[in-house]
Amino acid sequence: MGKDDDGVGAHSCSSSIDSSNNPPADADHHPFLSSSCCGCGVGVEKRSSSSRDLIMSTDLRLGLSISPSQYNHNDVSSTSMQRLELMNWPPIKAVLRSKVAGKTENVCLFVKVYMEGIPIGRKLDLFAHQGYNALITTLSHMFAATILCPAHVTAGVDHCSKHHNVHVLTYEDKEGDWMMVGDVPWEMFLTTVKRLKITRADRC
C-alpha cells in the first residue's frame, strides 16, 4: 500500500541483519543473510500518481469507450495507454488489475483507537486517510477532543503541559512499543501501526 517491492526489500534487508540475535551456524546458506539479499526486491518500477488512480476508479466504472472511427489504421503511437485504460483495455478483470499492480481497490486498515479514560474504543480505517493531518482531524471529531498535530507536539511539549484537555496521539507499533505519532513518514507508519491511543498531553 503505497510502497513498491524494492522498498520492502531494502527495509527488510537492513533491519533483519540488525535484529537477528542468534545467527545460525550455517548463515551462509540462508538466502536472507547472504549478500544477495539486497537484490531481492523484484519490483517493477511503478509510477504512483493519484491522477492515475482517479482515472482508474471513476472513468473505468463509467466504461467509456471511444468509437473505432477515431482511430487511424496504423497510428499506433497516438494511442496512449491511458486512453486505453479508459476504454477498459487490455481485458483484465478489474479485481485482478488493481491487485496486480500492488494496489488493492477495497483494502482497509482498521485499527482500534482508545481515548484515555474511556473504556470503549472506536475503530478507524487508516487507508481512508491521506496523511497525519487527515487522521488528526478525523480523530478530533470522533472524540470531540483537541489533539495536537505532530508538528506542534515536537515544537513544544512545555506548551501542552499547561492544558488538561489537550491530547496527543500515540500508537503501538509491531514491536509492542508505544510511540508518538508523526515521527516517521505516513507510509512507514501504516506498515507498523497496530493500534492508537489518545493520551493527555500533560502525561507525555
Binding site: P31, V42, G63, V76, W89, A94, N106, F110
Partner: protein
C-alpha cells in the same frame, strides 16, 4: 417383439425404465445427457427424472419455472449470468443476473439441493441468508466473479449450513464489512474440505480460522487472503499438513533465521500439495521455504507476486511435475526461457501484465518468451499471453512446436499493432494457428487484422467454439466468414470492430445454435438489431444504451437464444427488441 410389447403394456412401469435410469446415471457429461434426451420420449423422461446436475450457462436462456418442471430431482446447479465482458466494466452494474428468483424456485422444488456454483451472478446478503435457511443438506457453494454481497452474507452461510464441505469465494466484488464471518462456524462444525477466501480484503479473525482448520480434519483446499501473515500461515500448515491445494496470504514478513528454518520444515511436511497460489509480495528470500513442498506441484499461480526471472528460474527447478503455470510479465522473456528449460510437462501457461497502463517502463514479454516456452514445452495446449509485441513468424513457429493448442488467447496490448518486424498485419499468425491447431476450441485474436484473418478462421477453425475479437477486421466480410465458416461456434464476443448490420445479419441461421453473441462499439444500428429480432423471435436481442448520444446507433448488443422469452428484469438502460 409384438408379444413382448403387449405383455409389457400389461405390467406396471418398472424394469426398463429403472434400467434406463441406472444406465443414465453413468452419463456424467451434460452434453451426453442432452443427446440421449432427444432419442425418444421414454429416454427423455428417464433423463429428466434421473438428472441430478444441471449447468445453465446463460441464466436467461431458461426460466426457473421451466427448469424445475423439466428436472424435478436436481441436487447440483451451476448458473452463469452476465456476459463475460462485464469483467472489463463493459456491462452496466444493474444489468441483471440476480440469483434470488432461482433460489426461491429451488427452495420449493429442490429442498435437497446440495451444490450451487454461480458465475457472474448478482447475489445479495438476503439471498445468501435465504440459501442458508432453505437447504438443510447444502454442501458446496462456489461464487466466482459475483457481486452484491458482503461478509454479512458469509456469516449466514457459516452459521446455518451445518453440512457445508465447500466454501469457495473467488474474485468477487465483495464488500468487506468485517472479518468475523469465520467465527460464525459452530464449534461442532467439522465437515469443511474446501475453503477459499483469497480475494477478500479485510482481516479475518485468525483465532477462529485456526480453530476451524484444526477441527476440520478433511480440509484439502485452503486459500487464505492477504491479511494472513507468514507466521500465521505456518500455524495453519502445522494443523493441516494434508492440504492438496494451498493459497498463501502475504508472503513477506521479517523473519529470523530460526523462523525461516521452521517455515521451511513446515512446508516440507506438506507432502500432498499439488496446487500453490497466493504468494503475495513474495520476495526471493522467503520463496525457498516453499521448495520442499513443490515436488508434486502441478499448478503454480504466481500472478500475485511480481517475480523476476532469476527467482522464477530457481523456483521452477524444484517443480518437475508442473503442468499449469500463471505468472506476471515481470518475469520477462528470460523468465519464460526458464519455463521452457524447466517444465517439460507444461500444458498451460498464462502470462498477465503487471502494469498494463504504464507508458514509461519498457517491460513485459515479447515473442521471444513465447517462442522459448514453445520449444521447451511441446505439450502446451492452453495459453493466455499478454505481450507488447509479436511477429507472424514467431507464432507460426510456436504452433509448429505445439500443434495441440485447444485454447489460444493472444493479447497484443496495443490495439491494431502490426507485426513489429515486417509492419504487416497479423493475419498470417492466426492463419497459422487455425491451420495447424485442428483441435482449437477457443481463440482470442489481437493486433492489426484484416478480413484475411477471418477468412482463415472461417475456412480452418472447424472445432472453434469461442472467439473473441477486438479492434480488428476491415469490413463486414470478416464477421461473415466466421458466421458462415465455423460450424461449432458457440460464443462470439466482439468489441471495437467496424462490423455493421450486414455482418450481424449474416449470422441469422447460426444464432439459435449459439449460446450468445456480444458486439460493442461496432457499427450496428437499432434498425439492424430490430430486423434481427423480428426475423428470429426465439432470440433475445438486447441493446444496452447508456448515454443518449445517438438513438439510432446500437452501441452494445447482446444476442442469445432463450426458451424463456424476453426477460422481465431489465434495467432502464437495456432494451429487448
Amino acid at each position: 417383439m409384438q408379444s413382448m410389447e403387449s405383455t409389457r403394456s400389461t405390467r406396471s412401469l418398472s424394469f426398463p425404465d429403472k434400467v434406463l435410469h441406472r444406465v443414465f446415471t453413468h452419463l456424467t457429461s451434460n452434453e451426453d445427457r442432452n443427446s440421449v434426451s432427444l432419442v425418444c420420449k421414454t429416454w427423455y423422461n428417464a433423463d429428466r427424472l434421473s438428472r441430478s446436475k444441471v449447468s445453465i450457462r446463460n441464466c436467461y436462456s431458461v426460466s426457473p419455472e421451466i427448469l424445475v418442471r423439466r428436472f424435478p430431482n436436481v441436487r447440483c446447479v451451476t448458473l452463469k449470468g452476465k456476459p463475460r465482458f462485464s469483467d472489463f466494466n463493459l456491462v452496466p452494474p444493474d444489468w441483471g443476473a440476480d440469483v434470488h428468483a432461482w433460489l426461491v424456485a429451488f427452495a420449493d422444488k429442490y429442498p435437497l439441493l446440495e451444490e450451487l456454483s454461480l458465475k457472474r451472478m448478482v447475489v445479495s446478503d438476503e439471498s445468501l441468508e435465504f440459501l442458508a435457511f432453505s437447504f438443510p443438506d447444502f454442501k458446496r457453494l462456489s461464487l466466482l466473479s459475483c457481486d452484491g454481497f458482503t461478509t454479512d452474507g458469509l456469516e449466514a452461510i457459516a452459521s446455518y449450513c451445518k453440512n457445508l464441505t465447500e466454501f469457495d469465494i473467488q474474485e468477487n466484488g465483495v464488500e468487506d464489512t468485517s472479518g468475523s464471518w469465520l467465527s460464525y462456524f459452530l464449534e461442532s462444525f467439522t465437515s469443511l474440505e474446501v475453503l477459499n477466501f483469497a480475494n477478500l480484503s479485510s482481516e479475518v479473525d485468525f483465532d477462529a480460522l485456526e480453530r476451524l482448520v484444526s477441527r476440520c480434519k478433511s480440509l484439502k483446499v485452503l486459500k487464505v487472503n492477504r491479511s494472513v501473515s507468514l507466521e500465521q500461515l505456518q500455524k495453519l500448515l502445522v494443523l493441516a499438513p494434508q492440504l492438496v491445494e494451498l493459497g498463501t496470504g502475504s508472503f513477506s514478513q521479517e523473519f529470523s533465521a530460526h523462523q525461516f528454518v521452521d517455515l521451511e520444515s513446515c512446508f516440507s511436511s506438506c507432502k500432498n500439495i499439488q496446487s500453490l497460489s497466493g504468494l503475495c509480495d513474495a520476495t526471493a528470500r522467503y520463496l525457498p521455504a516453499i521448495y520442499p513442498a513443490c515436488a508434486n506441484l502441478t499448478f503454480l499461480n504466481l500472478s500475485y507476486s511480481a517475480m523476476g526471472s532469476d527467482e522464477l528460474d530457481e523456483l521452477l527447478m524444484h517443480c518437475p511435475c508442473l503442468q499449469r503455470l500463471w505468472v506476471l510479465d515481470t518475469v520477462g522473456d528470460k523468465g519464460l526461457e526458464a519455463v521452457g528449460s524447466n517444465c517439460p510437462l507444461l500444458e498451460e501457461l498464462r502470462v498477465f501484465p503487471s502494469d498494463p497502463f504504464d507508458d514509461d517502463t519498457i517491460q513485459g514479454v515479447t515473442e521471444a518468451g513465447f517462442l522459448a516456452v514453445s520449444f521447451g514445452c511441446p505439450r502446451l495446449h492452453y495459453v493466455l499471453y499478454f505481450c507488447q509485441q509479436m511477429t507472424n513468424a514467431a507464432v507460426a513457429t510456436i504452433v509448429q512446436n505445439c500443434p495441440d493448442f485447444t485454447h489460444f488467447r493472444l493479447c497484443i496490448m496495443n490495439p491494431r499493432q502490426p507485426d513489429y518486424l515486417t509492419n504487416e498485419p497479423m493475419d498470417e499468425a492466426f492463419g497459422a494457428v487455425v491451420k495447424t491447431c485442428t483441435k482449437l476450441q477457443r481463440l482470442s485474436v489481437s493486433g492489426l487484422l484484416t478480413d484475411l484473418a477471418f477468412e482463415y478462421i472461417g475456412k480452418h477453425a472447424k472445432n472453434l467454439e469461442v472467439l473473441s475479437i477486438a479492434f480488428a477486421g476491415s469490413s463486414d466480410r470478416g464477421m461473415q466468414c466466421v458466421m458462415e465458416g465455423c460450424p461449432k461456434i458457440r460464443k462470439l464476443e466482439i468489441r471495437d470492430c467496424l462490423f455493421g448490420d450486414a455482418a450481424l445479419l449474416s449470422g441469422l441461421d447460426k444464432y439459435e445454435s449459439m449460446r450468445s453473441l456480444w458486439m460493442s462499439s461496432c457499427n450496428l444500428t437499432m434498425d439492424g438489431c430490430r430486423l434481427l429480432a423480428k426475423k428470429m423471435p426465439r432470440l433475445n436481442v438486447e441493446v444496452i444504451q447508456e448515454d443518449e448520444s445517438d438513438d439510432s446507433e446500437a452501441d452494445k448488443v447482446y444476442v442469445y437464444r432463450t426458451v424463456a422469452g424476453p426477460r422481465k428484469d431489465s434495467p432502464p438502460s437495456v432494451f429487448t427488441l
